[in-house]
Amino acid sequence: MKGLLNWLFGAKRRSRTISFMIVIVSYIVLSLMIASGSLSRLMISLLVPVCAYIVAALGLNLNVGISGELNLGQAGFMSIGAFTAVILSGIFSANGMNPVLILLICIIAGAVMASVIGWLISVPVLKLQGDYLAIVTLAFGQIIMSLVNNLYVGFDANGLHFAFVTNTLELAEGGKMLISGPMGATGVSTASTFTAGFILVLCALFVVYNLIDSRSGRAIMAARDNRIAAESVGISVSRTKTLAFVISSCLAGAAGALYALNYSSFVATKFEFNDSILLLVYVVLGGLSNMSGTIISTALLVILPEMLRFLQFYRMLIYAVVLIVIMLVSNNEWLKVKAEQLKKKLTGKRKGVQQS
């Protein structure tokens, strides 16, 4: 038993145990609240999207925080996962398959599809550095959105049918459109549940932390801290950057699949540039390389605009001000010094108590 717990949570990193605890405790508390009916319908409807964004943000933090490369196209990989899931769920639900099984297959397929495309993209792209890499990830996000926005997929007794740019599909009797270009995915049979989202978040944490604490993780961080030194000890920088990018895409794909099967219909522009930016905001506000921070900031920032709904038109304005103020406060030199002093004072006192 102890061995199993160790395998899951790892004894070495405290931050890892904390992250797992936050997720598990939140799940238990929220489940109890749902059971007792004390959670509003709005909140309940946000649970799965929050889980999906957390998974995508954890992936992005691997890319931006651990690997140190700016990525402005994470939503594009969510999109790949989401629309892969829509197609597969369309096929399987027509065959009357168990929804849990459909969800599982869709998440895996979404993750695999996003990883493969992430890998194809990363091979040429990771030769670029810094802001040039960022703009290319942005470009890929836009391309993916634009392509999906022009994609028509239908399913009937004869199998899958694809069309591009103009809808030329003529489906047989009983067939249905799965993706209709700018109208997006329609008639999706929903399968995502809060429990599934919770498990996916745990899996994402498991993958991210296990990667960080390994040979590959060290290589990724070494390449981030000092490219030249990393090569001098025999680490292939491009390979490690690719690995981080692919795993990040993989998590985004899984997140996209979870998100997709939560709604009966959604459009491709649900995963546009602004969403990539929002994911980046979650990661930066939560703290680079800080997974617990990512989880908390994602949850708060997805829920915050909904909580501010009573402010109506002012809510996004306040949201923007909150963003700017957090950045200004967290980078204020004077406050940093004060915080450091306070920390010293507190830890100093604790030591004093122990001595006496």
Binding site: Y132, A134, Q142, V284, M316, L317, A320, I324, N331
Partner: protein, 292 residues
């Protein structure tokens, strides 16, 4: 003939991109930040000139001047309040702040002016024919292209000949050394934001003259396009931004005309990626090397 006509309208669109990209690129070169709020300055310029013409009944030139003054003030104020305190912060923090500023401007505009689309007054109509009526060229395209060329020329002269321009180049090269040479870096950064924002106002008027609708998120797409153009040409390089903007406009117009309107976005970005793969720092960008 159709080819020529597409080329001219592409150059017209590209000129607007180029003017915006110049602002983007100058700010990047000197402040080393991606100013994602730059597109929303365009939006502010559009609204300013719109109200100057419709509510105050001003002529186009006066409205453009008002928009330029307002945008310049807005740009400098944003820099002072939001970016200056972050001079020593990580580039990601600055990026997020710029995104916050962008949201702020969009939502402030929505609160003040409503989210409905307003129709920009027709400012420059008509066209003239060439080759016995086979080719029709709109005056607007010509004015836009000429404006862009004049701006580009003036900016090049300013950067190379004036003392402030030289100080700007020094700052973009090495800020630390510039300070030691007695250059007031904060002043230079303010001037850069002022110029960039003023140019955004010019671009706003030209853009709205071509696509006469004004709404709060108007700046996002041209903003991203201009950013792409700046990177395309080599971010930080002024001739690069000019070239990148023109090429992007032409590629976009051709893609719409010859391939597909819906896919023009994907094509533009695909070309950008190909260019960067061949020239990793853009068409005219400098190669940077690390000293070991």
């Amino acid at each position: 003939m159709a080819f020529l006509s597409y080329l001219i309208s592409g150059l017209g669109l590209g000129s607007v991109y180029a003017i915006i990209a110049l602002g983007y690129s100058m700010v990047y070169g000197i402040a080393k930040m991606l100013n994602f709020a730059h597109g929303d300055i365009i939006m502010a310029g559009a609204f300013a000139s719109f109200f100057a013409m419709t509510a105050a009944g001003m002529p186009l030139i006066a409205a453009a001047a008002i928009a330029m003054v307002l945008c310049t003030l807005l740009g400098v104020t944003i820099e002072r309040l939001a970016y200056k305190p972050l001079r020593n912060a990580s580039s990601l923090s600055v990026l997020i702040t710029a995104i916050g500023v962008s949201y702020f401007l969009q939502n402030a505009a929505q609160l003040m002016f409503g989210s409905d689309t307003k129709i920009y007054p027709t400012v420059l109509n008509g066209s003239f024919s060439l080759f016995g009526g086979q080719l029709s060229v709109s005056y607007l395209s010509i004015v836009t292209i000429l404006t862009c060329v004049v701006i580009m020329g003036a900016l090049t002269l300013f950067i190379n000949k004036t003392k402030t321009g030289k100080a700007m180049r020094a700052c973009s090269e090495d800020k630390g050394a510039a300070v030691l040479m007695g250059i007031n870096v904060n002043r230079i950064i303010s001037i850069t934001f002022a110029i960039g924002s003023g140019l955004a106002a010019v671009a706003a008027v030209l853009l709205c003259a071509a696509y006469p609708s004004v709404y709060p998120t108007l700046g996002s797409m041209p903003g991203i396009r201009a950013f792409t153009a700046a990177v395309f040409g080599g971010i930080g390089s002024i001739p690069g931004a000019f070239l990148g903007g023109l090429m992007l406009g032409v590629i976009e117009t051709f893609a719409k005309a010859y391939i597909s309107t819906q896919l023009s976005d994907a094509i533009v970005f695909a070309v950008l990626i190909i260019v960067l793969l061949i020239r990793p720092t853009g068409l005219l960008g400098k190669k940077v090397s690390v000293k070991v």
